[in-house]
Symmetry: C2
Amino acid sequence: MNHRDKVRTMGKRAKEAAHEMAKAGDAVKRDFLEGTAKRLESERRRIAEANDRDIESGREKGLPDPKLDRLRLSDKVLNEMMEGLREVALLPDPVGRVTSMWTRPNGLRVGRMRIPLGVVGIIYESRPNVTVDAAALCIKAGNAVILRGGSEAFHSNQCLAAILRESLRAAGLPEAAIQVMETTEREAVLEMLQLEDCIDVMIPRGGEELIRFVAANARMPVLKHYKGVCHIYVDEDADPDMAEALCINAKVQRPAVCNAMETLLVHQRIAPEFLPRMAEAFRRRGVELRGCPETCRIVPECRRAEEEDWSAEYLDLILAVRVVPDMDAAIAHIARYGSNHTEAIVTRNYERAHRFVQEVQSSLVMVNASTRFNDGYQLGLGAEIGISTSRLHAFGPMGVEELTTTKFVAFGNGQVRV
Amino acid sequence: MNHRDKVRTMGKRAKEAAHEMAKAGDAVKRDFLEGTAKRLESERRRIAEANDRDIESGREKGLPDPKLDRLRLSDKVLNEMMEGLREVALLPDPVGRVTSMWTRPNGLRVGRMRIPLGVVGIIYESRPNVTVDAAALCIKAGNAVILRGGSEAFHSNQCLAAILRESLRAAGLPEAAIQVMETTEREAVLEMLQLEDCIDVMIPRGGEELIRFVAANARMPVLKHYKGVCHIYVDEDADPDMAEALCINAKVQRPAVCNAMETLLVHQRIAPEFLPRMAEAFRRRGVELRGCPETCRIVPECRRAEEEDWSAEYLDLILAVRVVPDMDAAIAHIARYGSNHTEAIVTRNYERAHRFVQEVQSSLVMVNASTRFNDGYQLGLGAEIGISTSRLHAFGPMGVEELTTTKFVAFGNGQVRV
């Protein structure tokens, strides 16, 4: 079979499996998830051998150390995968839940019932643990899934795929519910993106280039996360100690992630007092500041920001800083340069706190808390499959529930339309 | 300005207007909707003149009568538009509603708040009333909208657009919240479909060709409705009188719409009694039957169905009929040939009623009621902008709420991530 036929066959098998999966009860899905966790434990050696082959050939190809690091299925990563599987097993099953029901004047009882999305396609880059993490969430939500990982992780992914298949079989679920693409050719991906009759949604996970490629070529809907240019606005009525703690946490605790702060906006009235102490706190932690003219006037050693700094996702110990005349200017700045990811206000003012929450249209808008909380675990959704920065279907962290949709159900006793 | 620049300018203006719209309270939106209803009343003459120009040039171009009919803004159609505007005005405003809120172990209070989608693009064909109906729903949900109607309705649409602009101005809303494209060139539509940074969702309304064109070319998400191949399954335990009444209503009451029944599935045990009486009832109403071999054996005058009849959307007084060995065969037939629109079971059996509702994955699955109820008004959502047969974001009738999304909000008192 050529790529085209292989991919089409996978799509058809996934669609058939999705019908079975939609009927699977939670006990069976839990069996699969807990069984997989046990198999990862008992197959540590087999996994390590497959992973070593990838690491070795990565080294031969001259992959840089951070990439080799992401590729490695260390004991720590394996333990986290097992813990994740057990946590997902315990999440409430969203499928079949009737979220609301009402009665029409003619007596027809109408409701909405949660159902799986169907077939989920996931295209991702180096980390092989995504194979298990993503499959677990898709199965819990009653979907079938087609996974296409990076070529560097080929052997690890195939090994994990075999283990997942064994767990499906042991739980009595169709093996085609989780299929990992065996080819890493680009044409196979392009073919996958054409299968709108088999794949209900595509979720790309990786760099901006991958995501733009998927969005431009997919015929089915795409749930995507471009970048996180997150802001904290320190209001004139902020508690300066709280503001300092939140800004340090949001910038420094883990600078390389999408929910780290990239731009700090400070009200002009608090700036003369607040900015020098922040500059000192950031200096001690090795954060480089890039400021607007007013920031540089207050903090003379600060480097001047260029226009592109306002939309930069540094993912590093660098921070853009701007003094704003009022909250409306802060909101306008966020609307212009932000990426709809996460924004926070620090204030003691009741009215502005609520107006900020109303008027800023990002996936998470917060009062007096660190931007670092935009994450499925932290918000209480359980594991997440990504953070959507586009508005349709899911906006923000996507957990198990976001891998489902609702259908209407109606119970009548002979109603006809007049 | 060329098309490209014109369309881009519309997109940018719509995006700015969407920011204003998201803040608009319900009183202002109601003002706009009720004001538009009043203006349609007082401007009947102006509307009739514009509409006459379209009808005349349609006649000159030799448009067939049904198309001319759809084009006409008769008094009846205008009255329905006014009534629709007043109904939408009274619907509850979804924007700002916090649908759930919970507290995390660290005290962070997290919730989901409904917000507008942003900018909605609507591409539709002949009926000019869509210009007002669709704009009303989009505005109620706090969105800006760009409308592109059919070239045959050009003057009617421009006249309605002017009235809508006057109403926006009078209510203090930005005029760019409703923009009707002035060009009807295809390149302008193609350009519109590229504006993923300005338009959040595209909703095509019309024939399958239009919808496929939009789905293939749009870079933003598309909410689409392909076709309605709706089924009624008459179970062995059906009440035959109820089954007859439901089948007649679903097929005959308005055969040219998407929620009319196109295929009847009958359990083999009830078929010998039920099919002859149904054949007679249908014959009296001028419905042509196309049956499977078993149907033709029971009803000898029935024409044999070809393979393509099982997936046909006749939109006419024609019905495909198949005898099935059991409910699972009916469900399998629906999964294979259906279009995920509307399916009903007629039965007195409790267990099968519930299993049918669980296992059939269409946008509306019913027990003992006519398929004709799949419609926003009938299900109690208020006016609808269409019926989605794809699963993401909205599945089934899309009312005001489906023109919104949710963001996460979080209220803290200094929480940092550890």
